[in-house]
Structure formats: C-alpha cells, structure tokens
C-alpha cells in the first residue's frame, strides 16, 4: 500500500485531472515540470531560505502543559500560527510563487476561503513584484474582513464571487474560469491539496515541511521522531497533509482529522465531507464530495470559512478509504469552545479552523504516556468577530448548555 500518487496523478482511485481542454496546456506543463523545478538545487535553496528568513520557519513545537494537564498525555502544538501571515498557507505560496517564477508567469490568481491563502498569495506576489488577483466568496468577504483589508493593502485585487453558497467552492470556480480566460501569463496558485493533478501532490510536498520539522523536533524533545497521534483540521486538507506527510507509511502513528460539521451532521448545514460525501469530481479532481443523488454539488456550511468546502483532497479521500485516517466531525460550537479553552489555558488564540482540530481532544481517551501533536494551522486574529459574538452570547446565556447550537447565531 502506498500513499503517493501514481503516474497519472491518482492516490488509489482518487485524484487525476478532470479539466476542460482550455486548461490542458497549462496543467500539463505543470505536470511535466513541477518535480524537475522543485527538486532542483537552486529552487530548494531559495525555498528553504525564504521559509527560514521570510516565513519564520521552523515553527516551534510547543509543549502545552496546561492543555496536557486537562486532557492527559503530552500534548504538543505545532505552531504554524507563528508563520508570517499567520498560517501554514505561506509554506505553499512560497513554493508555488517560485514555481511560477521558474515558469515565467507574470500574473498570479488564487481562490481563498478564510482569506489566509489569499493573504499568503498576495504576500508572496508582492515579494516577487507580480500582479495578483484573489477570488473570494461574498460570504467570506464579509466574515473574514480583516484579511480582505490585508490583501488589498498588499496590492492584490480581490474579486468577490457571488455564485452558489458564496464561499470557497465558488471562489475556486471563479479562479478556474479566470485561468481559462488567461491561459498565457497567468499562474493559478491553488491553496490546498485539491484541484487537478499535480496540485494535490505539489501542495502536499510544500506543506510536508511541517512533518519534516516535527520529526526533528520530537527527536530533540522526546528522543524519538514518532508521536502516538497527529491531529489536524481538514478544509481541503493541506495543513493535515503537511502534518501527516512523513508519517503516512508509519502505521504506529495514528492520524486524526477534524472537519467542519457546522450545526451538526444531520442538520443539513455542515461541511462534513467524510461522512456526508461520496465519490465524484470537484474542481478537476476525483475525490469525496458532498453532492445530491443527482450529482449536483451541495452547498456546504461551516462557521469556519477555511473548512466551508464540500470536497476534500484526493489524498485524504484515499486515506479515509484505506482506514489510515480517522475523521471527526466537529460542530461550530465545539470549535468555538475549543478556541476559548486554548486561549484561556495557553494564551494562544487559534484560527477557527485550527480550533476544530483542538476540539477532537475531548472525544479521545488519552493514555498518560501518550504523545499527541496538534497542528495549530493558524492564528485567530481573523476570527475575532465570531469569537466576540460567541463570548457575548455566553455571557448572556450561561445556562443554555444544550441549546447553544441552536440559539447562537454568529
């Protein structure tokens, strides 16, 4: 069993490149060249240097004592929240902007949900002096306003997608359409392990620095590179892919992921792809996705813009099928609670996405001598609005424990 892509870009039966002919040339150029480019010494040198000096890597592996005291075991947080621009997304955008430069592209486009990938893309575009256009769903423009302001200041043009659920899925559609319309000079800088081959593999490679560092850091701190479990959230799945990457073939390490269950998996308002999804094609990739019996893609819901996506990367679909990965659906409220908890116990305000990974903890039985690593994919500044609203709600309704999920309107 292997968890790497085959020569056609499939993880088992998932992946591939289901793209219209208009994208064929760009995609096949990328397929043919990405490994050559990123494995070159010149590339690796520049990439590693920017990761270190610009993005601030390595990100620390922090032993969260008070969180460990509460849940048992020894809980480490992989601090992607400390990266430049505030999330793991920068690992990938630094990689891909260098690929774009190697391919002589002059214009960068991207989709974004939480805005973190948009900010990270606008950031590296500014760094390289390239034009940048970011597509973002209208709902996300509203709920992640601080990131919209950042993108604009960075010189990016932010185009609002008004179709569908006005979230990440629709922003991605618009970005793909832009690429169709601009086949010559434009590079599409995808933000997660989704989309047509080679994106899932390329993005996973750029994010694999997370588990590469984890191995070294655990070696230093614990004398052995393997934790017992790794926890991460999954929107498209890039931070999880990065956190799992070097452990995929190492079965002793359990892999756990959180997905956005919104108001609950039976509520009709969720983004719990692993449970509600079935095989299909979304954004050029065969994978698990939420869809009607007739094959229309369902409009997802999660309070967390970065998880509000009806699909999942093909690697993760494969891992789930092979039972290598266990996925926990996490509701909005569970995530909000977990965010509050990390904040008051450890003084770290997590991104709402990352809070989903934290919210797995209360669902686990943890042995005393166990080592867990939670990939803290981003910081929570962009989510202060939602946090403040929940905070205010809790102050007013301290007793409504069971009703919260219905009563709290963000």
């Amino acid at each position: 069993m292997s968890y790497t892509i085959d020569e056609n870009g499939y993880y088992g039966s998932y992946g591939g490149a289901y793209i219209p002919e208009m994208l064929y040339r760009n995609i096949s150029q990328l397929q043919d060249n990405y490994l050559k480019i990123i494995n070159s010494d010149a590339f690796q040198k520049e990439y590693k240097q920017l990761l270190a000096d610009y993005a601030g890597r390595p990100s620390p592996l922090y032993h969260a004592r008070r969180l460990s005291d509460k849940y048992g075991g020894k809980i480490y947080l992989k601090r992607e929240d400390l990266n430049h621009t505030g999330s793991h997304k920068i690992n990938n955008t630094i990689g891909q902007i260098l690929v774009a430069k190697h391919m002589n592209k002059k214009r960068i486009i991207a989709e974004t949900g939480a805005g973190q990938h948009g900010v990270a893309t606008a950031t590296v575009s500014a760094l390289m002096g390239l034009e940048c256009v970011v597509y973002m769903g209208a709902l996300d423009v509203k709920r992640q306003a601080p990131n919209v302001a950042r993108m604009k200041m960075l010189g990016a043009k932010v185009i609002t997608a008004h179709s569908g659920s006005q979230t990440l899925k629709d922003a991605t559609n618009e970005a793909i359409r832009d690429w169709i319309n601009n086949p010559e000079d434009t590079y599409y800088l995808i933000g997660s392990v989704v989309g047509p081959h080679p994106y899932p593999d390329m993005v996973a490679r750029f994010q694999s620095i997370i588990s590469e560092e984890m191995q070294q850091q655990l070696m230093e701190k614990e004398g052995a590179p393997d934790p017992d479990r790794i926890l991460a959230c999954i929107g498209g799945g890039s931070n999880a892919a990065g956190a799992f990457y070097h452990y995929l073939d190492n079965k002793k390490v359990q892999l756990l992921a959180a997905e956005g269950a919104g108001k609950g998996i039976t509520s009709g308002e969720s983004a719990a792809t692993s449970i509600l999804g079935s095989d299909g094609i979304i954004h050029g990739s065969k994978t698990l996705l939420m869809q009607t019996s007739d094959g229309q893609i369902t409009e997802p819901y999660s309070l967390s813009a970065g998880l509000d996506y009806p699909g999942i990367g093909p690697l993760h679909a494969h891992l789930i099928k092979e039972k290598r990965l266990h996925v926990y659906p996490i509701t909005d409220i569970e995530a909000l609670e977990a965010a509050m908890e990390l904040t008051t116990l450890e003084g770290i305000i997590p991104a709402l996405e990352s809070a989903h990974a934290l919210a797995i903890l209360p669902k686990l039985e943890i042995r005393k001598d166990e080592i867990l690593v939670i990939n803290l994919s981003g910081r929570g500044e962009k989510d202060m609005d939602a946090y403040q609203k929940y905070f205010t709600y809790l102050k007013k309704h301290p007793k409504d424990e069971l009703e919260k999920s219905f009563l709290f309107v963000p």
């Binding site: 056609n8 591939g16 490149a17 289901y18 793209i19 219209p20 002919e21 208009m22 064929y24 040339r25 760009n26 179709s163 569908g164 899925k169 559609n173 793909i176 359409r177 169709i180 319309n181 601009n182 086949p183 010559e184 079935s278 095989d279 299909g280 094609i281 979304i282 954004h283 050029g284 869809q291 019996s293 007739d294 094959g295 229309q296 893609i297």
Partner: protein, 250 residues
Amino acid sequence: MKKITQILEGKNLLSIFLTAGFPTVERTIEILTEIEDYGVDFVELGMPFSDPLADGETIQQSSAVAIRNGMTLATYFEVMKIVRKKTDLPVVYMGYLNQILQFGVEQFCRKCNEVNIECLIIPDLPLEVYEREFKTIFEKHELLISFLVTPTTSDERILKIEELTTGFMYVVSSSSITGRRGKITKKQRAHYEKIKAMKLNKPTMIGFGIHDKKSYELACQYANGAIIGSEFIRYVAKENAAYFLTTLKA
C-alpha cells in the same frame, strides 16, 4: 450511418446550445420541437450543473434556474422522451462528468440510446481519461464523442483529438469561458485559419462567442458550421429566441 454524422457532412451548419430546464421544463420541450423550423441543424442540450467550470454567467445562471426547476438527469431523459414523440432533430448531450458518474455510466449510455442521443460533449472529460476509461463503454453503446480544441491546443494534440473524435471537433473560438461577446479578433481568425489549414479528417464546429449573423457566417467559412450558446440563451430569457434565429440566416 447516424443522423448526426450525416448532417455533419454539410456546410454552414447552425447548432444551438440550450440548458435543459431553462427557463422552464415546458419551454425546453417547446423549443426543441419547434427549433428545426428556424434552420437549426442540431442542438446541444446542456444538463445543468451546479459548478460549471468552463461556463460564463449566462450558462451559470440558466443552470441555476434549471436546477431550481427540478432538472435532474432522470428528468432530462424524460424531456427527451417527450421531444422524441415529435421530432428526430439530432440532440447532442452536453454536461459535466460528475453527473454521469453519479447516474452510472452504463445506465447513462442506455438512456441516451433510448432517446436517440447519438453524441456526447463532456467538457471535463480529458482525452486521456476518455481513452483509458470511457472509450470502450461509449463505443459499446455506439455513442459518438466530440472533443474541444482550443487556441492553446498543440498541433500534435489536435491530431490526437482528431483521431479519437467520433462526432465532431468542437473548435473553441478563443481562450475563454462561454458567453463572451464582442467582435471576432484577428487572433481568433488566425486560429480558425490554422484549423482549416490542417485539413482535418473530422467535421469541425466553431463555438464560444458566436453571437450574431456576422460571427456565425465568419465561422462557417472555416468550419462545417457554428454553435451559438450563451447568446441564444439570452434571447430565450427575453422570450425572443425565434426572432434571433431568423436574424442569423436572413
């Protein structure tokens, strides 16, 4: 020989694209039964999809309306059944791959046979995947397939597409999604000329951005005919489709 194949031997062909279920299911049936009278040689009947990657706003919006009207693949074939009682106008199926997969490829093919759909266009089914996974089954059910050729398609690849094409080669007029208007540019014309000069062995139809008599006639100089999609839908929306068709060959 299939009827569509026969027709595709002709010249100055006029084809229109229509979103099934737009603006209503009834209207789709009406249009399909009446359209032959307006000089339309064959129709691409689009199965609406929630996330049509290659389509511009007009088709996106018509698709959203059609889905809201309850259009499903099952309904699609029901519509065709009714249409077939009145006309044997060639209808090409156009739709994204996901819905075919959910419906089941085998069953999809059988249903196409039942309602005499002879040819398919599946924009997100790339040549290579077709060859590897779909060719055998489509051939078994004698379904023809048409592939897109775009300004970015290399000559080598055009030849490969020619080889695999069993319906017609859908020559995409410019590097863009559907629905762009505006004059046909020099660049587009060069693209037309190049395709013509290749003297391909399969019928060619030019589409994307064809929106009036002028652009239609220009396309006909370089290919067997042209396909009008978004512009036709705009006229359907305005309940002015019949008038529009009369202007094209006037």
